[in-house]
Amino acid sequence: MTANDVIERQAADWLARKDGDRWTPEQQQALDDWLAASTLHRVAYLRLDSAWKRADRLRALQAAERPQATPRAPAALLARPWARRALGGLALALMAWVLAGDFNLGKPDTERYATAVGKREAVALADGSRLTLNTATRVRTAVTAQERRVWLDQGEAFFDVAHDASRPFVVIVGTQRVTVLGTKFSLRRDGERLQVAVLEGRVKVQSDGAQATVLTREDAAVADARNLLVTKKTPQQLQASLSWLQGKLIFDQISLAEAAQQFNRYSHRQLVIADPAAAQIRIGGSFDAGNVEAFARLLHVGFGLEVQQQGDEIRISSPAS
């Protein structure tokens, strides 16, 4: 048995013990000590832990085989502390909104909500679920005693769905249905393309007539009528993709072309990248979504790009050499 074999077995034993129901603070301490003892221990553990988490995807098989299966107690899926931190600010904003008395009880009719370009709005549904609408978004909601329905007609929204097994919560996005199994997630509609990011819990995504796919915590998916691609996100990436909840755009080395696309969702003033060389510049950092002018200034100062403003258009180009 090689040295690695020994360490890997130990790491697997730790992981299995922690995965069980008899885990104690003392054991956690012992595990922490073991991890701190050697980086070889730590990387072996991280490697197995990452595989073990990815195996959560096997749950998709459950939905495929038996759609009627009773939902499991979601205790293990809920209550992630980092998620709560990420949403602290949002929760406060919503609380203020609820306290302001705009709470709407038990109306069966369809309600319509919309935000203008650059605006963001929190919406509380009669069942206690909360929606946050991002820029240029339109939704309709219908909450009855039997069912909760939301149509995402345009834009992007974050959902914090109140758990209620007796009333399914379904979001309809064009031809696709997203069935919620008690959770926090965001949806973005771009024509017929749907982007899903799951912060907590599980959601089921189904296109008309196609097989359903179940997404779990930290999954993100891009779906059109025919295809669905699921990727696993780190908590950091998820937070970046939900940064709009705080009015921020967080970029992790994306191209200037993509960054401009993001900014353009939030403002009538549109960024136009004039040449391919400029479009390929990599951008990272955290920016105010509503302040495209500041971003343009930064491009000028930081990258020496030419910035020309004409009406509602900001042209960015490589410096003339």
Partner: protein, 190 residues
């Protein structure tokens, strides 16, 4: 960077490179039995080396770390022929363009997982399926199967190693580009 951020970065950026790293090691090290040890040693060096700052390219960093490790080992072993040694020095890893995103085509990952499950011994497989597909806790699995929690724990320990091998090593990235031709003379610097 905090320990958590470092770990997250490691899981997210470094682990997906395992097929690339594995190929690099196999191409440049003769003793197959030592590959797993070398791989973990590279991981440890990368983890420690990035404690304070992240490299621009995780892949370039991982491969140059692997290269340095192989050179260290070869020097220490002193049984390596001059030829191999010279060869090793010339060995400049070329970055191959495996996007971590490719690991994530859900259906192919699911297929990999299923294939990994099929290879497990029957009892181990049943435990993993109940735990991961049915979402039962270890205690519930024990009750359902009529075995002790200790046994369930042992099977999980065994199962997770097999899953890691299937997921990370063969990787869903099996369709990625071949990094370079397999002959070793290429001095083309990246």
């Amino acid at each position: 960077m905090t320990q958590d951020e470092l770990s997250a970065w490691f899981v997210d950026e470094v682990l997906p490179l395992e097929p690339v790293l594995e190929r690099f090691l196999r191409r440049n090290w003769r003793d197959v039995d030592e590959i797993a040890d070398l791989r973990q040693e590279v991981y440890a060096r990368v983890f420690d080396g990035c404690a304070n700052s992240r490299p621009d390219s995780a892949q370039a960093f991982v491969l140059s770390t692997a290269r340095n490790l192989l050179i260290d080992r070869a020097r220490r072993a002193q049984i390596v022929s001059i030829e191999t040694y010279a060869d090793m020095d010339a060995l400049t890893p070329t970055v191959d363009h495996l996007s971590p995103e490719r690991h994530s085509a859900a259906r192919s990952e699911l297929r990999l997982l299923q294939a990994a499950l099929n290879l497990l011994p029957l009892r181990c497989r049943e435990v993993i399926e109940l735990r991961k597909i049915e979402g039962l806790s270890q205690r519930e699995v024990a009750t359902r199967m009529g075995i002790t929690e200790d046994t369930v724990e042992r099977q999980v320990s065994k199962g997770v190693r097999a899953l890691a091998l299937a997921l990370l090593q063969t990787g869903a990235g099996s369709q990625e580009k071949k990094p370079e031709s397999t002959h070793r003379s290429g001095r083309a610097l990246s």
